[in-house]
C-alpha cells in the first residue's frame, strides 16, 4: 500500500458528447427571416393573440402552436435590465455591459439583448432603443445579426404600456 499522502482523492473525468442539433420549426422560421434582416414574431392564429419574439413553438399561455407570423419593429422598449460586471464565458464583450429585457414594438414579450452606445448609469425602464444591425453580408441565422440596441431620441414609455405598443411604436 502507498503512503497516506499518496492516496488518490480526486480524478478528472472528461465527458464530451457530440450532438447534431436541429432547430425546431418555429425557431427556424424566425431565424430564417432574421437572416433576411426581418424581425418576425409569431402568434397562434387568433385575433389579438399575443406576439412572441423570439417564438419557441407554442404560445405558452395557451399551449397552442404559433402558426401566424407577424413582422415587428426593430425599435423596442426597455422592460428591465442589468449591468453585468463579470465576463460571459466564451464571449469577447468586456464588462461592465448592459443586458436588457427588450420588447420590440408589435411584440408582447421581451427578449434579452445587449445595449450599447449608452451611458450605463442612465439606462432605465421604459427607455426607447433601436437595433444596430451588422453589415448585411454578415447576416446569419442568429439574433446577433443585431449587434446591440442603442437609445433613441423618443419619449419613455409608461410602465403599464411596456409590451403593448403596436408595430408602429409611439407614432400611433
Amino acid at each position: 500500500m502507498s503512503d497516506e499522502q499518496d492516496v488518490i482523492t480526486d480524478i478528472e473525468t472528461p465527458i464530451y458528447l457530440k450532438y447534431n442539433f436541429t432547430a425546431g420549426l418555429a425557431p427556424s422560421r424566425f431565424l430564417t427571416q432574421l437572416k433576411n434582416g426581418k424581425l418576425t414574431g409569431q402568434r397562434r392564429a387568433e385575433p389579438d393573440a399575443p406576439v412572441y419574439v423570439p417564438p419557441r413553438g407554442s404560445c405558452p399561455a395557451s399551449g397552442m402552436p404559433t402558426d401566424e407570423e407577424v413582422e415587428v419593429s426593430d425599435k423596442a422598449t426597455v422592460q428591465s435590465f442589468t449591468i453585468v460586471h463579470i465576463p460571459i464565458p466564451n464571449n469577447p464583450i468586456q464588462p461592465p455591459f448592459v443586458v436588457a429585457n427588450l420588447v420590440a414594438d408589435g411584440a408582447n414579450i421581451s427578449f434579452i439583448h445587449l445595449m450599447s452606445e449608452c451611458v450605463n448609469e442612465e439606462v432605465r425602464i421604459g427607455q426607447r432603443v433601436q437595433a444596430v444591425w451588422k453589415p448585411e453580408e454578415e447576416w446569419d441565422y442568429a439574433m446577433d445579426n443585431i449587434r446591440y440596441f442603442k437609445p433613441i431620441d423618443e419619449p419613455d414609455v409608461a410602465v403599464d404600456m411596456i409590451g403593448k405598443l403596436p408595430v408602429t411604436g409611439l407614432e400611433e
Binding site: I11, T13, I15, L17, K18, Y19, N20, F21, T22, A23, G24, L25, A26, P27, S28, R56, G57, S58, P60, A61, S62, G63, M64, P65
Partner: protein
C-alpha cells in the same frame, strides 16, 4: 383505495429523426389528441400534470421546462417532473390521485434521442468512476447479458430472432411503428452479428417522439363518459447497480414488482413489455410468468420503435387501447430503466 383508470393515450410516430420539431412541437399534438379523447380542452381541465424526460438525450439542461410551454399553464397548474421514463410520472400521478389531491392527471414523456449517439450517451448512466469512464455502451452490456443466456442454454439465437420476426410482423398493424415487415427467423439469422452475439435486428432502433396519457378516478371517467381500463396493480423495484452481482439472465425486480402488482391474480390476455433487446423480452416473459395464452407486444414493442422516456408509458397505453377496444379483458404493462433491466415497473390493467 380509490379506483384509478386510464382514459386516454396517444403516441407520435416513432421517427428515426424528428428533424425540424423541437420538444414543444413534439408534445403539443399528443396533448391535443388525449384532450380530444376525453373531451377537454387543455391541461387546465385535469388536476395534476407530470412528465418524464432526460436532458442528456438532446444535450440541453432543463428540457422539461420547454415542455411546460405546451401545457397552457396560465393560470398556473399543479405540475411535476421525473428525470425518468414517463411511466414513473404515471406512478407519481397515481399516488397523487390515491391521496385525494387529484381526481385526474395528464402524463407525458418525450425524447429527441437522434441528435446524440444514444448508446454512448447512456454509458454515462453507469457508475461514474469505474464504468462511465470506460464508455461502456448499453448495447455491449446487453450483448454480454444475451451471451450469458445463450451459453447457459436458456435461449438460442433462433429464439431471439423469433422475437424480432414477431415484433416486425405485429408492427405492421401499428401505424406509429418505425420498423415493421414480414421476415423470417431464418432470414434474420442470416444477418451478420453487430455487437456479437447481438444482431442489429436484436436491438431497438433510436426514435424521436412523444406520448401522452390521461388517468383519473373511475368516478371521473364515468363523469366524462369515456371508456376506461382500470389500473388494478402497479409497482416498481430497482436492483443493484453492480451488473456483476445481478443474475442477468433473470429480472428479479420485475418478479418483485409483478408479485406486488398482482400479475398472477388473473389471466393475462395481453402484455406489453419494454424490452429494448430481443433476449430481454424472453427474460421479461419468464419473470412475468407469461404463457401461450398471452398476446405479447401486439404493438410490436420497442423493437419496432423506442421513444426513450416515453416507451414505458406507451406500453401502458398500448394495453389500455386493447382493453377498451374489447380485444383483452386483463393486461400487463412493463417499463424499464437503466442498463440490462435494472429498474422495472409492472402495471396491471383490467376492463371496466
Amino acid at each position: 383505495m380509490r379506483e384509478i383508470c386510464v382514459v386516454a393515450y396517444s403516441q407520435s410516430d416513432c421517427k428515426s429523426n424528428a428533424g425540424m420539431a423541437n420538444e414543444v412541437e413534439l408534445i403539443m399534438p399528443q396533448l391535443q389528441a388525449v384532450y380530444k379523447q376525453v373531451g377537454i380542452t387543455s391541461a387546465q381541465d385535469v388536476d395534476f400534470v407530470c412528465s418524464g424526460s432526460c436532458d442528456y438525450l438532446q444535450g440541453a439542461a432543463f428540457a422539461f421546462v420547454a415542455g411546460v410551454d405546451a401545457l397552457g399553464a396560465v393560470p398556473p397548474i399543479k405540475e411535476s417532473h421525473v428525470e425518468m421514463d414517463a411511466a414513473w410520472a404515471l406512478y407519481e400521478s397515481v399516488l397523487k390521485i390515491r391521496m385525494g389531491q387529484a381526481d385526474s392527471a395528464l402524463i407525458y414523456g418525450f425524447a429527441k434521442s437522434s441528435p446524440g449517439e444514444l448508446p454512448i450517451v447512456l454509458s454515462q448512466q453507469l457508475d461514474p468512476y469505474y464504468l462511465a469512464t470506460q464508455w461502456v455502451d448499453t448495447i455491449s452490456l446487453a450483448a454480454m447479458q444475451a451471451r450469458l443466456m445463450l451459453e447457459q442454454g436458456l435461449i438460442t439465437e433462433g429464439d431471439m430472432a423469433a422475437v424480432v420476426a414477431d415484433s416486425r410482423r405485429k408492427a405492421l398493424q401499428n401505424p406509429q411503428a418505425q420498423l415493421s415487415g414480414e421476415t423470417s427467423t431464418e432470414a434474420l439469422l442470416n444477418e451478420p452479428h453487430y455487437v456479437s452475439p447481438l444482431r442489429r435486428s436484436d436491438c431497438c432502433p433510436v426514435s424521436d417522439g412523444a406520448a401522452a396519457m390521461i388517468i383519473c378516478t373511475v368516478d371521473k371517467a364515468k363523469e366524462w363518459g369515456v371508456p376506461y381500463a382500470r389500473i388494478t396493480g402497479i409497482d416498481h423495484r430497482i436492483e443493484t447497480h453492480n451488473l456483476g452481482m445481478r443474475d442477468l439472465t433473470d429480472s428479479v425486480s420485475t418478479r418483485q414488482a409483478a408479485a406486488r402488482a398482482g400479475v398472477a391474480d388473473g389471466p393475462v390476455d395481453v402484455a406489453e413489455v419494454y424490452a429494448p433487446f430481443s433476449h430481454q423480452q424472453i427474460i421479461l416473459q419468464r419473470a412475468l410468468d407469461l404463457g401461450d395464452d398471452t398476446d405479447i407486444n401486439p404493438s410490436g414493442g420497442v423493437l419496432a420503435g423506442n421513444l426513450m422516456m416515453a416507451s414505458g408509458v406507451s406500453r401502458i397505453g398500448e394495453v389500455f387501447r386493447r382493453i377498451v377496444a374489447g380485444e383483452a379483458g386483463r393486461g400487463v404493462a412493463h417499463a424499464t430503466s437503466g442498463p440490462c433491466l435494472q429498474h422495472n415497473m409492472v402495471t396491471v390493467l383490467e376492463g371496466a
